[in-house]
Amino acid sequence: MSETSGNGSDILCVLSSNEWDRSAEGLVGAGRLLSDKTGGKLIAVTLGEWQDSALKQLGARCHQVRVGQTQVSVSGGIESMLDYLVKLAEEIQPASILFGNGTVEEEISPRLAFRLGGSSIGDAQALTISNNRIQVTRSVYGGKATAVMELQKSPAVVWIRSRAFPPAGPLPQSGSFETTVIQETSPESIELLQHHEDASEGVSLEEATMIVSGGRGLGGPEPFEDLKALAATIGAEMAASRAACDAGWVPHSWQVGQTGKKVTPELYLAVAMSGSSQHMMGITDARNIAAVNTDPDAPIFKHCRFGIVEDYRNVIGPLTEKLKSRKK
């Protein structure tokens, strides 16, 4: 096919994470998937400060790189960023505009679609084109069902689970570069007053290869200290269910699931959590799930490779000791 209805056939990938990581690779991979089908150009749009080495990786994989140099921080300059993206999209007339997953991306996608007269949807796990229209596969009903959604108005503005998409290899010829300084066009009606990062030692949850996660069954914040000791022994990151976050036992940035992080570890050890469909939405791409739960009928076991039916209080301490001695 040569083009999707309405607009042209080019695909824009908007990268705001300013790093060439697995997430950026997946986003560009998804873009290539579409541009290969539309026969259009793949155009990367970068926001924020990018290292030359990272830009080079992008240039090798895209037909064009539009470097948008921002004076303001991404979260502080939403209005000007939107204005810039609207202008760019009006110039290029893309079939689709892809974003990765993040707070800002989720905030911007529908607003951009509205201003361009397009359509938007988020949390895409797969992308296809059918009848000249972009179709998005995503989990709905809290993970109990999967839907294929058709975006009927062009451009299709979609934020995707970047890490769920395979990276794309280099193109035969490197892309061209064009740099624009993003001006402060619209006054920012919203003023950033304070920015806080939760304390975290290791890598981000999304990049973690081992995760230890706790649920409501832990009954309070103290047992999370024991889980932390366990996690430290094997170099795992910490996560939690929404019930544990809502109770105020651990920060919300630990939440995994429909409205939390989507993670992809080799091992996800779920302690004292039931495995609600909403929680499972965050770990569909975990390689191995294991659980400690007193209830043999807990839904979590339906997703596990292995598990132990036992009170966590009898397991976590001895397990930590055993893992310590095995490491030696």
Partner: protein
């Protein structure tokens, strides 16, 4: 101060997987075997608005819902939680409209109700989970927008709000008349209405608004006119056979558990 909270009624998202099935004709969940409830994030939004009202006094909260006849229950519950006014924008369409259409209808209704100092929605719904209605609503109304808010205070310039980010939180100053979407936190768990207030809520009137009242042409709203529509809906099959660790005693079981964890760790 006038606050407006948009709420949505959805199929109970906490029903067990075995009770969930799909209406293949309508491409939505079967509503026969489950209760309709208020979307949790909308209740978090209402709770946040109630706390704001309690802290500043002299304010009123209007709840609005674009929904079916059954959504009256959600509005009654909001009144029982002590919202002041309730408005049902009646959805008698044959399909479930997308977020853009929903926001368009809500925006027309909100404009007909007057102006508000702050407009709340939930961050997303527990059914389709698009998480877009708030953003579209802000665009429709041409007002500032901030999602994932979990705390709000009034200031002389407008409001100071806290929003959650992937890795922590941020504080923002936002002007009056903004749209915020609310996310869950440890201090906006929805209050349980008192029996007396539940009784009282049944004596209150719920304002009903139709497409006609809003001069929206119903025949122009259909799956084809929506910007997004479902073309397939199915229950994914992804059960794996769990190996339950057995053993002589607990110590032996934990030994096996440790072995399995180390086995995975050694592949990294």
């Amino acid at each position: 101060m006038k606050l407006l909270v948009c709420i949505k009624q959805i199929l109970d998202p906490e029903i067990p997987v075995r009770d969930f099935s799909i209406d293949r004709e309508k491409l939505e969940a079967d509503s026969a075997n489950a209760n309709q409830v208020t979307n949790i994030f909308c209740e978090n939004a209402l709770e946040t608005a109630l706390q704001l009202r309690d802290s500043v006094g002299e304010s009123s909260i209007t709840v609005i819902c674009f929904g079916r006849e059954s959504a009256e229950d959600s509005l009654r519950k909001a009144l029982a939680m002590k919202a002041d006014e309730a408005c049902l924008v009646m959805n008698d369409l044959n399909h479930t409209p997308d977020s853009a259409t929903t926001a368009h209808v809500l925006a027309s209704a909100i404009e007909s109700l007057g102006s508000f100092d702050l407009i709340f929605t939930g961050r997303e719904s527990g059914d389709w989970g698009n998480g877009q209605t708030g953003a579209y609503l802000a665009e429709e109304l041409k007002v500032p927008y901030l999602p994932f808010v979990d705390d709000i205070k009034q200031t002389d310039k407008g409001f100071e709000v806290r929003r959650q980010t992937e890795s922590g939180w941020e504080r923002y100053g936002i002007p009056a008349s903004s749209v915020v979407t609310i996310t869950n936190s440890d201090h906006n768990l929805p209050r349980i209405p008192k029996t007396r207030d539940i009784m009282m809520s049944h004596r209150k009137t719920i304002t009903r608004v139709s497409f006609e009242d809003l001069k929206i042409r119903k025949d122009e709203l259909n799956p084809q006119s929506d910007s997004v529509r479902p073309v397939k809906l199915f229950v994914p099959e992804k059960e794996s056979a769990c190996e339950f660790i057995e053993g002589e005693n607990l110590n032996a079981k934990i030994d096996q558990l440790a072995d399995k964890i180390m086995e995975i760790r050694s592949t990294l």
